[in-house]
Symmetry: C2
Subunit: 332 residues, 2 copies
């Protein structure tokens, strides 16, 4: 799983500098998905709700549709008034022909959007943003149900970033579970529940020390006592110190005005930018490995999550009706 | 239920002006609770987690403890590091001697706090802030379980505000369900998921037109087609127009600098302020009914919610173990 899926980056990894185009990584996963769909037949279907005229979201939905259609997935964009969104989500939850549901945020903004994330059934939560799927990620719970028939999905942007890091020579190979990033320090500038915190948890799970930075300060993430759980730790380290110690720097500040000072990034660092805009000077690739955008891999992970949900739902139909009702939440 | 529980406010209601002290309303509900506890015996227990030195939260916890102890409820304040809070909540979820759990927010701030609200089991969510309890409120789902043995709780600040409005001559008596506020217009300046939106939903359920205002604009709330459901509607009305049309104005902006211009509030309006600071000039009581603080009733509703959870959990022990596992969520 951690081995190189392409030779594309060999030179960049050896030289510890250069700009990375993630297309080969996306293609690798998309080919796997395409083959799987060809094999099992059927028509996995994803519905995406858009409530605004945001050009970024429109563009992203176009690319997603093109990729999905090429790979055998039906992608339906539904434009809808924001006040009608909740009802539309509930309808899609109940529609057996819909296997995955996503929403382009912001809709209302703030906590109401967080509420809407949880109206999507965890069983159709293709982006992995529902509290249930996030809780399960943080607590190493792999299944939505007691019977262990429905695998959880992982938020797709953090998943994409982990897949990219795996290809850039950071993970140690042939080590025990939870050991692949032992000794590594990673700084993430973003602690959202959508990307930054799930990502910190995933990297800490593999043994890294993660400095998670947002406007309120820095929190350290480490592996917990049991594999798959995490520990948050207060720290007095500064942002500058954290960046200078890190072998990987992950940037996700959604503002074109936010740029990290290049002097704070040491040579050979892997710099991954997932914000819509570049949070670092473009010429940083002369001394570091720069991944300026990750969108293509995110779309591949979205497809991957959809296939997981599709398979969960195919399986569900073979279970007796009683078990379909028991959507047990482990954590309560 | 809507009838006056005290004659205290008769003059104020008739004159349509004056300052309201909510103590008699709080005492009415607390006396009910005290009697119930005396009757059933037992020791309902609530645990409150505090992760900061915030003086406001400390003061509020002291008042809550005094009220609870007087009424027969054990209130335990646990001071804890924020990084340890999630584990502590999970432990309290699993502790059969704890019937209700609350947290003083902010802890980390932002979406992480929203996540923590959902780590509290809906069965012990004494403040009614979990997504499950809020979803159920918005969709008129009254029970947490399929067997209809565990009643949902309603967020306690909105519940307190409804109880106060009921005492100030706004509700029509002896009308059908969902009709008591027909013809009334109400403005709420706050659309948080903790107070403003659940409150808008509750008032819309009873037939009011609610103008829900936050920094992003105005949304109208009306009763949905089925009783107990709500409809959000886009509107072009301005904040000033909304306030001038309203018989009730509810203020919850957590900033001492935010004051509504008194000229925008018509004579006889019921003005309820639930922010920690007063969002209106204090002398507005010369032309309106002013409720400057509601904290005492909120504490009474917290106790009331705890009793509901306590009774749910007493009942649960008499159910066969299999049924205890089926924590079914209706909406997925």
């Amino acid at each position: 799983m951690h081995s190189m899926i392409t030779n594309e980056y060999k030179e960049i990894v050896e030289n510890k500098k250069g700009k990375v185009d993630v297309t080969p990584i996306a293609n690798f996963f998309r080919n796997e998905i395409k083959e799987q769909i060809t094999k099992i037949g059927g028509k996995p279907r994803m519905v995406a709700f858009l409530t605004t005229d945001d050009q970024g979201a429109l563009d992203y939905s176009k690319w997603t549709k093109i990729a999905c259609n090429k790979d055998g997935i039906e992608f339906i964009l539904k434009r809808i008034e924001r006040v009608d969104l909740e009802d539309a989500i509930i309808e899609a939850n109940q529609d057996d022909d819909v296997h995955g549901i996503m929403v382009y945020y912001p809709v209302f903004g703030g906590m109401l959007d967080s509420y809407l994330q949880d109206v999507i059934s965890p069983e159709k939560d293709v982006e992995g943003l529902s509290t249930t799927n996030r809780f399960n990620l943080y607590h190493n719970i792999r299944y939505l149900d007691k019977e262990m028939t429905k695998k959880c999905v992982i938020p797709c942007t953090p998943l994409a970033i982990v897949k990219i890091i795996e290809q850039l020579g950071i993970y140690r190979e042939n080590v025990e579970l939870g050991q692949a990033l032992v000794g590594k320090e990673i700084t993430i500038i973003n602690r959202s529940e959508i990307v930054g915190r799930p990502l910190a948890a995933m990297l800490a799970n593999d043994g890294a020390i993660v400095y998670s930075i947002d406007i309120n300060g820095i929190i350290m993430f480490e592996a917990g006592k049991r594999y798959g759980t995490i520990k948050m730790v207060e720290t007095k380290i500064t942002k500058e110190e954290a960046m200078l110690k890190s072998q990987v720097l992950i940037l996700g500040v959604p503002s074109p005005n936010y740029k990290v000072n290049s002097d704070l990034i040491k040579e050979g660092t892997v710099v991954i930018n997932f914000a819509g805009c570049l949070n670092v000077d473009e010429d940083i690739d002369s001394k570091t490995i720069l991944v300026p955008t990750i969108g293509k891999v995110t779309i591949a992970m979205l497809e991957r999550n959809l296939m997981r949900l599709y398979n969960n739902q195919r399986l569900k139909k073979t279970l007796p009706p009683q078990d379909q009702l028991n959507q047990y939440q482990y954590y309560h």
